[in-house]
């Protein structure tokens, strides 16, 4: 016996969405006898149906929206900047600003080229007591302990700078607690967390100050995924680097 394709489609769909009538049930039984794949297909369709039914909404109207020209402009600027950086490492360029995010632009800030670690000095020692005093109510703990302050060791910092860094694992991400001395006043420093595959998660910025500064920054990456904390200057250099041990190591 063969079942016309249209009939098979209807039988499979009706079986998947539970709308089989008695006649169709008998037809499906007959189909099973000659097509052992039909039950697997019904199961697949049923699970797909159940997944789709979990969706709260789909707005077809927004499929007709046109992105702002600033989106294309921003993408082009970012691509051009990256192309330039690859072609001419070390040459300064204009700053990159995402469209519509004027608040992210900073006057006088130069774009960043050729991330380099030149000039860093190994420290291997930190004054964790300073960070400790910043968060006296926070217990210390092993790497990855939720809500606990983890001591870190900065392996490299720029000459003349002194940095203390603590790390706190949260359910929502990773917090870094900083005491920084020797940052150039008014200069922007970006904090970036690297994961073990080289992925990057931004964690905000701070401006250098004449006096020692303290700040706390958040990043949407779990501590267990963080391999390294970097401070990057607007000149594109790694200003400080703190490798973190694996959680549970």
């Amino acid at each position: 016996m063969t079942t016309p394709e249209g009939d098979r489609v209807e039988l499979v769909l009706a079986a998947a969405d539970g709308s089989l009538d008695d006649v169709q049930r008998r037809q499906l039984e007959a189909l099973r006898a000659v097509d052992p794949t039909v039950d697997a297909e019904i199961a697949e369709l049923r699970s797909t149906l159940e997944a789709v039914q979990q969706l709260d909404e789909w707005d077809e109207d927004v499929m007709l929206l046109t992105p702002s020209p600033a989106v294309l402009r921003g993408a082009k600027e970012q691509i051009a900047s990256e192309e330039d950086a690859t072609a001419q490492p070390g040459v300064a360029d204009e700053p990159q600003v995402r469209p519509g995010d004027a608040d992210r632009a900073r006057p006088g800030r130069r774009a960043l080229f050729g991330l380099a670690a030149a000039g860093l000095v190994a420290t291997g020692a930190v004054g964790q007591g300073v960070v400790r005093r910043l968060r006296p109510g926070t217990p210390e703990g092993d790497p990855g302990t939720l809500g606990a302050l983890e001591r870190t060791v900065l392996e490299d910092v720029a000459p003349g700078a002194e940095i203390d860094l603590g790390v706190i694992a949260h359910t929502w991400g990773t917090e870094t607690v900083w005491v920084v001395e020797g940052a150039e006043p008014g200069v922007v420093y970006d904090v970036v967390l690297l994961d073990r595959s080289g992925g990057r998660t931004g964690s905000g910025s701070f401006l250098g100050t004449r006096d020692p500064l303290d700040c706390e920054l958040n990043a949407a990456i779990l501590r267990e995924d963080v391999a390294e904390v970097l401070v990057v200057t607007a000149g594109g250099q790694v200003w400080a680097r703190a490798p973190l041990p694996p959680v549970g190591a």
């Binding site: 992105p67 989106v71 217990p139 991400g173 970006d190």
Partner: protein, 189 residues
């Protein structure tokens, strides 16, 4: 900070250094041809036009970076861009779901709820799958399965016969099934 800081690392990371002679990716053409689709998907997923536009921009930039990976014999540029957008949107949705709050937890916070990230990814993957369907196939899935409309009602509204609508539903679900499997395989790879 995030864009600039990450751009620094993107440009500097040796593993991402690539020659300029690779396959060209015309970002303007991709924007013109697929921008609305990508934006619509992102708005549906995030419910935030501004965040969605950020995702479209990020998708175009990531596509340019990954232009060597595009294989026309494996699928259309549209499908490739949706796959990239899916990952961008998942990242964005996860970041939004973990938006930092003032927490000074002593004793330590409760452990993270397992599976939340997976739920976010599953939802975005489903939406990306819907975006890849034709408008006609998407319509029948959305109206009947998401909004609960009957085939008879949809037939009255559209003038399309119930049999045709049910056939569209079957093929739409088959296509969705294939897309979800494909994405799951990709995530596992």
């Amino acid at each position: 900070m995030t864009t600039v800081g990450l751009a620094v690392l993107d440009r500097a990371a040796p593993r991402e250094a690539r020659p300029l002679s690779r396959r060209d990716f015309d970002v303007a053409r991709a924007f013109d041809e697929h921008g609305s689709l990508l934006l619509g998907l992102a708005v549906n997923a995030l419910g935030d036009r501004h965040a969605a536009e950020d995702c479209v921009q990020e998708t175009l930039v990531r596509a340019w970076r990954a232009r060597d990976t595009f294989r026309a014999d494996r699928g259309s540029e549209r499908t490739w861009l949706i796959a990239i957008a899916r990952r961008v949107i998942i990242d964005s949705a996860r970041a939004r779901s973990r938006r930092p709050v003032e927490v000074r937890a002593v004793p330590p916070e409760p452990a993270p709820q397992p599976g939340v990230d997976g739920q976010v990814a599953d939802r975005v993957t489903l939406l990306a799958g819907l975006a890849r369907l034709s408008p006609e196939h998407r319509q029948v899935v959305v109206e009947v399965q998401v909004r609960g409309m009957s085939y008879d009602e949809l037939s009255r509204r559209t003038g399309v016969g119930v049999g045709t609508l049910r056939s569209r539903m079957y093929y739409a679900l088959r296509a969705l099934r294939g897309i979800l499997t494909e994405e799951a395989d990709h995530d596992d790879a």
